[in-house]
Symmetry: C2
Subunit: 347 residues, 2 copies
Amino acid sequence: MITIKEIAARLNMSTTTVSNVIHGKDGEVSPETRQKVKEFLDEVDYIPNINARNLAQNESKIIGVALKARADKYENLIMDPFVSELIGGIEETIRKAGYFMMLYISRDTEKIMRHVSTWNVDGLILFGMLDDDGVRVSTKYKKPIVCIDTYSIEGLKHFTNVGLTDEQGTYDMVKYIISNGHKRIAFLSDNTNGVDYARFTGYKRALMEAGLEFKEEDFLKIRPKSDEIEESLEEICRRAMDYTAIMCVSDLYAVTLMSALTDRGIRVPEGISIAGFDDNYMGSMYRPALTTVHQDIKEKGVVSAQTLLKRIKGEKTEPRIILPTRLVIRDTVTKPRKSSFYGYSRL
Amino acid sequence: MITIKEIAARLNMSTTTVSNVIHGKDGEVSPETRQKVKEFLDEVDYIPNINARNLAQNESKIIGVALKARADKYENLIMDPFVSELIGGIEETIRKAGYFMMLYISRDTEKIMRHVSTWNVDGLILFGMLDDDGVRVSTKYKKPIVCIDTYSIEGLKHFTNVGLTDEQGTYDMVKYIISNGHKRIAFLSDNTNGVDYARFTGYKRALMEAGLEFKEEDFLKIRPKSDEIEESLEEICRRAMDYTAIMCVSDLYAVTLMSALTDRGIRVPEGISIAGFDDNYMGSMYRPALTTVHQDIKEKGVVSAQTLLKRIKGEKTEPRIILPTRLVIRDTVTKPRKSSFYGYSRL
DNA sequence: TTGTACGCGTTATCAA
DNA sequence: TTGATAACGCGTACAA
């Protein structure tokens, strides 16, 4: 690996001159020397040492991307195509802007912050952070942070949130379900924090507006840990037939649920209508194809990275960016079954 | 961000002493000073500047992870749960070993190599590289490289390949299909390089062994680019009924194909049997559940990272590591349809 | 046991 | 237009 110093020595000039040519400071150096240096640079295939550069400039050109995994969700986190699509969008944007991406997955906010401090990253993208983490992060770290899908960090300095019309999207979908004639509609999720809370709220608003009552038990809680999910699904399927439709908080869960129902002889949508949220590949490939709320996940990644890049350059940005959602009507929501028919294909 | 120098000044001692305490060189420093320094370190929450450290030590503690995307496959690359699961395994292993992971996606081998050179990464994990890239990479870069699923790099120095019993796994599956009574079995993929070649070979071997003839046209070529896939699928479905079973090179394609067939009224497995390879979430959630060749993708990531770490430490490793596969028999391969029945559910 | 001084590769400042 | 030199923060050989 050749260094500037060595190049300077071989060309009989100073490191300054070489450095100037490398950085295109054309005013500082004569055309002839510039030419000479450039040729030599090509010849030896000079590659700068970023560590030295960062040390001298006190910057890193690194964007830290931290996924905060919940203990009970780690497996799913990394299985969900959501994540890879998001990362894809982020990586592409970062790379094109001449930055580098360091990826870090952890359950521990503290560790994440140490990590970014060590590397002196120029900015941080956080995904999967819950409310209470915000303050802790905030005090440790002075550089721009963009959160994805994190509610209730508003007001905290350095923070920008990139989110969705979660509430409205779910509201629209449940309204659509109701317009199909459904009256007993459950909501399926594994928690009621952050994004899930917003979607849950949208669901309840649609119910209320239609004069439908919401009872606590209409919230179907799925436990995604691999050693609990079967039992969890068993119970949910048992209770499913109390409803004619289930609004799922994600496509992942919607598809998981449809499989479980199918295995128990309950047909979708004849026996029960199912709606998802995300519009990922799994939902679109499943048959019957999933009716769902679309979000552009890659775009979410791109916008997050772009916003962070702007903030790094010192430009002002909105404290919260809200991306649109839209309904994708496919085949899993239809009219409710007749009360006499339970949709069982075998019994 | 506090520096060693500053700490030394405040404590009235030399930087060496502080440094020694930080690195636990207990023999070099008296218990009292050690205690004093440690306390102060905690108090000010000292975080080393990695750039300076790397510069001084000429190492980086960074593992570069480069995904080489094929032009026509980028979208799928990042959609396939395969990738996120693999990354998950790699990241976890790297992190636990005290290393950092830099992720880079590019179509251009040259760019990937520049990237790793600049950062002086301690080692490299390459995924998606094709045969011809090998040599180019090899000459540029002297540090350990672990490839995932790259055939024909054997013999190249610095390289280790982590792969699968691709040929055998596919052979086993096709043999299983044949044992179900099938005689006309197609193979679906988008190319015949690397991994796909190995699987293709396994398919042909099983055919041959059973005295079945393979014709060129039995290779069904899918074109995965988003603006071509519909047309491609249309043609494949038209030709599908010349066969009673299709061995797909991946679960992703198997599920995609099943959807397309279903949409055209062809039922799986009544009309045609389908087998996949990978055993991912999509295939296991699809109904009918996909019969497929299982590989442990996360494990692949873990083993790759572990192997690289070993090589970085100077330990010898096998030039090629081959992970096992096994058949997962589910519901998409059954006896072939009667020749009079074409499995159409509507026409 | 502690401290001094230098090198790592780069950029920046200032003088020639 | 060019060059000498300091600085960035850390680790370490070697001296004290």
